[in-house]
């Protein structure tokens, strides 16, 4: 049952061409506090599903309901694309402030003093406060991933969509980032949907595990 608290898809079909859906017959209800991991072969439609939930693509068929609406409102969704979507020539602070502004201001007046506080806290939580003014292009791959996570944390979204966001992280940083994100989800009762190929890692983070196979999305674990 769709409500303003959950994410519901009924008989959903996602893809780029109407006659060639990547995933069809998708049905799920995700409730606050849940972390959902999706795995499956490349090109099977996992990223397309995330994009549809983020409101970037229209579903080919069926109903997609994100917090009671067919498209999420400003600041409700934090999206970490596979290639991160950071502004390479801008500083870490600028990138994270973009998230903070989306989450805490209106589109008509995207300025607020509190944004800086949210940004600093988020950057500090992923351990790159000393890189505040550094252009993103000068950071290593792992550090850039942490910036993308900080951008989402500063935004404080109700739904986090993360596409392989733990790749390229060393073991120590991975533990730290995982803890920060898990704490955020449990403290804010948010929903997180992540695409993750590493089964062990997915099991550690998520409480529900789905696999995309043969054009369908199947739940394989509910921990």
């Amino acid at each position: 049952m769709a409500s303003t608290d959950n994410v519901v898809v009924r008989s959903g079909s996602v893809g780029y061409k109407r006659n060639e859906p990547l995933l069809s017959g998708v049905n799920f209800t995700f409730n606050p506090g849940e972390i959902i991991a999706i795995n499956g072969a490349s090109g099977i439609g996992k990223t397309t599903l995330l994009k549809t939930l983020a409101g970037l693509l229209e579903p080919l068929e069926g109903d997609v309901n994100v917090f009671g609406k067919s498209k999420p409102r400003r600041g409700e969704v934090g999206y970490i694309p596979q290639r991160l979507g950071l502004i390479r020539h801008a500083s870490v602070l600028h990138n994270v402030m973009l998230g903070a502004r989306a989450g805490h201001t209106s589109a008509w007046f995207p300025f607020s003093r509190s944004c800086r506080k949210f940004s600093d806290n988020a950057i500090d939580s992923v351990g790159i406060l000393q890189k505040l003014r550094t252009p993103v292009r000068k950071l290593s791959g792992g550090q850039q991933r942490r910036v993308a996570v900080a951008r989402t944390l500063a935004q404080q979204p109700r739904l986090i969509l993360a596409d392989e966001f733990l790749a390229e992280l060393d073991e120590e940083t991975l533990e730290m980032v995982m803890k920060v994100v898990l704490d955020y989800v449990s403290e804010n009762n948010a929903i997180m949907i992540l695409v993750e190929h590493d089964f062990e890692r997915a099991k550690r983070m998520a409480n529900r595990l789905f696999t995309a196979k043969g054009g369908e999305l199947v739940e394989i674990f509910d921990f």
């Binding site: 994009k51 983020a54 409101g55 970037l56 999420p72 409102r73 400003r74 600041g75 409700e76 969704v77 934090g78 999206y79 970490i80 694309p81 596979q82 290639r83 991160l84 979507g85 950071l86 502004i87 390479r88 020539h89 801008a90 600028h94 973009l98 998230g99 502004r101 989306a102 989450g103 589109a107 008509w108 995207p110 292009r137 000068k138 951008r151 935004q155 969509l161």
Partner: protein, 306 residues
Amino acid sequence: MRTLSAITSLWYQWRWLGIFIILLSLAIGVTNSAIEGNWEKLFDSPRNVQTFFTESLWPPDWSVLEPQAYPVCEESGWLDFTCSTAWIGLLETLKIAFVATVFGMLISYPIALMAAENLSPAWISYPARALLAALRSLPSILWAVLFVIMIGLGPLAGIMAMTLYTIGYLGKLQYEVIEGVAQPQLDASRAMGHGWLERSFGVILPESANNLISQAVFMFEYNFRHGTVIGIVGAGGIGYYINLYLKFLQYDKVFAYVIVIFVVVLILDVLSKYARSLFNDDKVRKKHPWWTILLPSSITQKLEEE
């Protein structure tokens, strides 16, 4: 069947030479029809050039760098060249190019944002593209003629003409850069719920700033080179003096102006290359002597690879 396959394989092997020969024959054919078979005219031209060069152009008359008789020069000593027509014209051309580039850049960016297909819907982007194309379709010299008619002789006509052309030319370069901004950046911004203005100035502008600045520096250099031409129709700058001496058939003075312009273009080229390298990327570039700008870019690239 075997013959056909042999011909195909022969064509495949020599296709580039074949295409080159076809294009060359076509060019010679078109030239022949344009000059109505009068090839002697072409073969006589080196002799004419030699006569013109030795009798009219050489040596250049450097009096263009001397102070004008009126108004009386107030500078003394080695600074008196600042009262010369070459210096005054040059400075005016540089000013026209600078102002036109700044105004052109500021006006073209919002139009380029509207013209970019990844930011604006088709009903906004197509009219914006048409506007830029319209501004670009007239070369700056024709804009200058129109503005001289409308607002009279002088640098203001030059500034307006150059600004309009800059908007058209720079706007096209800018929307192409904007359309080149990677999709994940735009996806993340859209998913967060950024508005059009926020996305344009918070995401697109910083992401493409290096390219935009590099293009503006290039445009300034381009405007200076064209600024020398628009003076000919009375829109101010060094071209005004060139036109004056052309009318009096004083080609040695014209030649001196041309040399002055050439030197300034060389200096601007070096400065613009350096300025653009500051904004291009973080790669540590090998610094080469200034004269490498005279080499074809393929050779410069080879030097950089070494």
